[in-house]
C-alpha cells in the first residue's frame, strides 16, 4: 500500500428524491498523503462538505454512494455501521465549521472530549482525564483543569475550536478532516488556529484534509490543493504550482475573487453565472457556461485529465500537457 491516508477514487454521490435526483459528487478523485495538508477549495455547493462526510460514511441511508474511499487502507463505502464506528475517531477525526454548535450545550466540554476518547480507546477514566488535560495543553487552552469543567456557553469561539481540535488530537487519528474550521472565527483567531494546526501536523505526524473557500488560508497552511467545481476536482497540485500557474480557468477566477488590502469596492471581483443545476446531467465541461476561454469543444466533450506539471493536474481542454493515463492514476499520481 502506498502512503496515503485518504484515497478517494471516482466518487459519485446522488441524493434521490421524488422529483429529481441531485448528483452532488461526480467522479471526484483526490488523495491525502501522509503528513501533508491538502486544501480542498471551491465555492458553496461545489460538494466539499459532501465529500468529507462521505469519507466518514456519514451521509446517511438516503444518499447513493459509488466509487472507492479508502481511509488508511480501509474501504469506507458499503461498510456496516459497526465497522465504520471502528474507523471513526480512531483512524479519522473531524472538526467542524461552527464550534458554537459542534459541542453539546448540556455537558461540560472536558467530559465530551473524554467520552470521545474513551469511546475510541480502551483505558481507565483517570488515564483518559490525564490525556485530555495534556491535549488541552497541546492546543494552548489556558488552565486545562478549569477548561475541563466549562460548559460551551462559557467559552469563546476560538477556545471552543481549540477544544474541538483537542478532541480530535486526543483520539490520535491518522487523518484529520477539517471542514472550514476557521470560517466562523475572527481573523486574528483564525491565524492562531492555522498556526496551531501547522505545528500539530509537524509534531504528531498528522495529515489533514482542510476544506475551505479561502485561498488565502490555503496559501498559508496547505501543501497541496484540490479545486472542486460542480462535484468534481477540476485542478490539483502543490500549492506553489497551482497558485503561481493555475491551469484551469476556474482556479484563476477563484484567485481573482480574493480581495486584497488597498482594493476599492469597485475592484471586487466575482465569477459571473452560477454553479450548474446538479439534478440534470452535464454534457461537456461543467464550467463551460461561466468560462472566459470557452470554445466549441467545451460544450460537447468532457475534458480529459492533463498533467500540466509533474504533480499538477487539470481538467481543461485548454490546458497544455499530456493526457494523464489511467496507469498513472493506478500508480497513485492523483
Amino acid at each position: 500500500m502506498s502512503d496515503k491516508v485518504l484515497e478517494i477514487r471516482n466518487l459519485n454521490v446522488t441524493f434521490p428524491s421524488l422529483e429529481r435526483n441531485v448528483h452532488a459528487i461526480r467522479n471526484c478523485t483526490l488523495h491525502v498523503n501522509r503528513g501533508e495538508i491538502l486544501g480542498l477549495v471551491g465555492e458553496s455547493g461545489s460538494g466539499k462538505s459532501v465529500t468529507s462526510m462521505a469519507a466518514l460514511g456519514l451521509l446517511g441511508s438516503s444518499a447513493r454512494v459509488k466509487g472507492n474511499i479508502r481511509v488508511v487502507g480501509r474501504e469506507i463505502i458499503d461498510r456496516s455501521e459497526a465497522e465504520l464506528q471502528e474507523i471513526r475517531g480512531r483512524k479519522v477525526a473531524m472538526i467542524f465549521q461552527n464550534p458554537f454548535t459542534a459541542l453539546n450545550p448540556f455537558f461540560q466540554v472536558g467530559r465530551q472530549v473524554m467520552d470521545a476518547l474513551l469511546n475510541s480507546h480502551f483505558m481507565s477514566k483517570e488515564e483518559a482525564r490525564k490525556r485530555v488535560f495534556q491535549a488541552f495543553k497541546d492546543v494552548r487552552l489556558p488552565d486545562p483543569e478549569i477548561a475541563f469543567n466549562r460548559y460551551p456557553h462559557q467559552m469563546s469561539g476560538g477556545q471552543l475550536q481549540r477544544v474541538m481540535i483537542a478532541m480530535a488530537l486526543v483520539c490520535e487519528p491518522e487523518l484529520l478532516i477539517a471542514d472550514e474550521p476557521t470560517t466562523a472565527l475572527d481573523v486574528t483567531v483564525q491565524a492562531q488556529i492555522i498556526l496551531l494546526l501547522r505545528e500539530l501536523v509537524a509534531k504528531k505526524n498528522l495529515s489533514i484534509l482542510f476544506i475551505t473557500h479561502d485561498l488565502g488560508v490555503v496559501a498559508a497552511l496547505c501543501d497541496r490543493v484540490a479545486v472542486m467545481y460542480a462535484g468534481m476536482v477540476v485542478e490539483s497540485g502543490p500549492v506553489v504550482d497551482v497558485l503561481a500557474t493555475p491551469s484551469h480557468p476556474y482556479t484563476s477566477a477563484l484567485m481573482k475573487t480574493v480581495p486584497a488590502l488597498g482594493q476599492t469596492k469597485d475592484d471586487l471581483s466575482y465569477i459571473p453565472g452560477q454553479v450548474p443545476d446538479m439534478s440534470v446531467p452535464i454534457i461537456g465541461c461543467a464550467f463551460a457556461e461561466r468560462c472566459t476561454k470557452v470554445s466549441e469543444v467545451c460544450h460537447k466533450q468532457a475534458p480529459p485529465r492533463r498533467a500540466v506539471l509533474t504533480d499538477q493536474f487539470s481538467f481543461c481542454h485548454n490546458a497544455s500537457g499530456p493526457v494523464a493515463l489511467d496507469e498513472i492514476v493506478a500508480g497513485g499520481r492523483l
Binding site: 466518514l56 456519514l58 455501521e81 465504520l84 464506528q85 471502528e86 474507523i87 471513526r88 475517531g89 480512531r90 477525526a93 473531524m94 467542524f96 461552527n98 454548535t101 459542534a102 459541542l103 453539546n104 450545550p105 448540556f106 455537558f107 461540560q108 467520552d115 470521545a116 469511546n119 475510541s120 460548559y151 456557553h153 462559557q154 474541538m164 478532541m167 483520539c171
Partner: protein
C-alpha cells in the same frame, strides 16, 4: 441558586394572593345564598342571624376579605356547607385518591411515552414511527369516557380479569383492616402487611390509570418525537457520530438530555392538570377523587368548598411548576450561569 429559588417563590406568593382575590370576589358576585344552603328551608330569624354573624356577611367587604385571608393563611378553609366537615379534611381525603391514580398515570406516561417518542424519532417515517403516530392521534381523538368504557367492557365484561370500579373490593375492605397512614391504598396496605388488600387495590387501579394516561401518553410521545427529531439534526449529534459514538449512547444520553426541557414542561403541565382530578375518569370508575367533589360543591353552591379547593389546587399546581423550574435549573447549565 438561592436567588433563583427566591424569585420563583416570590412569584408563587404573588400568584396565590391573586387567586385569593379572584375566588373571594367570585364568591361574593355569584348568585345563590350560602345562608340558605347552610340552613335549609324555612330557617328561623334567630338561626339566620347566627349564621350571618358566623359568616361575617354584615360587615364591610374588605373586613370580610381580611377574615378570609387570615383563615386561609392559618390553613382553615372553613366548613363545607354540604358535608358539615372541614373543607381541608374533605379535600385531603379526596386528594389522596386522585394523587394515587394521577401519579401512577404520569409514571406510566413517562416510562412508555419517552422511549416510544425517541424510537419513532430515530426510526423516522419507518413502521414504528407511523404506528406510534397513529396511536397518538387515536389517543388524542378518542374521548376519555369512551376509552374507559371500552377498557371496562374488555377487561371486566369479556375477560373478567379486572374489577369494574371503586378503589377496593368492599368485602376485602371490611375484612382486612389497615390504618390510613398516607391515604394511598397501595402504600397503606403494604405497611399493614395486608397482601390480599394490596392486590385488590392494585387491580382496581389498573383501568383508571390506563384510561387517564392514554390521552397524555399521546401528547408526550408526540412532543418527545418532535423535539428529538430537532435535536438529532443538531451539529453536536453529528460530532458524536463522527467520533464513532454508539447510537444508543447518543440517543439516550446526549440527545435525551437536550430534549428534557420541553419534555419536563409538558409532563409538569400534564401532571398539574391531572391532579385537579379528572371528572370523567372518576365517574366512569366510581373513583372517590377530587373531580367529583368539586362538581358536587359547584352544583350545590357550597362556597367554602369551592373556594378551598380552588386555592388548594392552585397551590399544588404552582408547587409542581416550582419543582419543574428547579429541574430546569439542574438540567440546563446556561440557566446556572446567570
Amino acid at each position: 441558586m438561592i436567588k433563583y429559588v427566591a424569585q420563583r417563590l416570590a412569584l408563587m406568593i404573588v400568584i396565590l394572593a391573586g387567586v385569593m382575590v379572584v375566588t373571594f370576589a367570585l364568591s361574593r358576585v355569584l348568585p345563590g345564598s350560602p345562608i340558605e344552603m347552610m340552613l335549609g328551608h324555612r330557617p328561623t330569624q334567630e338561626q339566620i342571624d347566627l349564621a350571618r354573624a358566623k359568616l361575617h356577611v354584615d360587615e364591610p367587604i374588605y373586613t370580610q376579605f381580611s377574615y378570609y385571608v387570615a383563615d386561609m393563611v392559618r390553613g382553615d378553609f372553613g366548613e363545607s356547607l354540604r358535608t358539615g366537615r372541614p373543607v381541608l379534611e374533605d379535600v385531603l381525603e379526596r386528594m389522596t385518591a386522585t394523587f394515587e391514580v394521577t401519579t401512577l398515570a404520569v409514571i406510566l406516561v413517562v416510562l412508555v411515552g419517552v422511549p416510544l417518542g425517541v424510537l419513532s424519532a430515530v426510526k423516522q417515517n419507518h413502521l414504528v414511527d407511523h404506528g406510534a403516530r397513529s396511536f397518538s392521534i387515536a389517543g388524542m381523538a378518542l374521548p376519555v369516557f369512551l376509552i374507559g368504557m371500552m377498557l371496562q367492557m374488555l377487561f371486566y365484561g369479556e375477560l373478567s380479569w379486572l374489577p369494574l370500579q371503586g378503589r377496593m373490593n368492599s368485602e376485602i375492605l371490611l375484612d382486612y383492616e389497615f390504618p390510613r397512614v398516607t391515604g394511598l391504598y397501595l402504600i397503606d396496605t403494604l405497611l399493614a402487611g395486608q397482601w390480599l388488600a394490596f392486590k385488590s387495590a392494585a387491580a382496581h387501579l389498573v383501568l383508571p390509570v390506563l384510561t387517564l394516561s392514554i390521552a397524555s401518553l399521546a401528547v408526550v410521545t408526540r412532543i418527545t418525537r418532535n423535539t428529538m427529531v430537532e435535536v438529532l439534526a443538531q451539529d453536536y449529534i453529528l460530532t458524536l457520530k463522527a467520533y464513532g459514538m454508539r447510537k444508543r449512547r447518543i440517543y439516550f444520553l446526549y440527545a435525551l438530555k437536550a430534549t428534557l426541557i420541553p419534555m419536563l414542561t409538558v409532563i409538569g403541565l400534564t401532571y398539574g392538570f391531572m391532579l385537579g382530578g379528572s371528572v370523567v375518569v372518576e365517574y366512569v370508575f366510581d373513583w372517590p377523587g377530587l373531580g367529583g367533589y368539586v362538581v358536587g360543591a359547584i352544583t350545590k353552591n357550597d362556597f367554602p368548598a369551592v373556594m378551598g379547593v380552588t386555592l388548594f389546587l392552585s397551590t399544588i399546581y404552582l408547587s409542581v411548576n416550582l419543582v419543574i423550574d428547579l429541574l430546569y435549573y439542574l438540567v440546563d447549565p446556561r440557566l446556572r450561569a446567570t
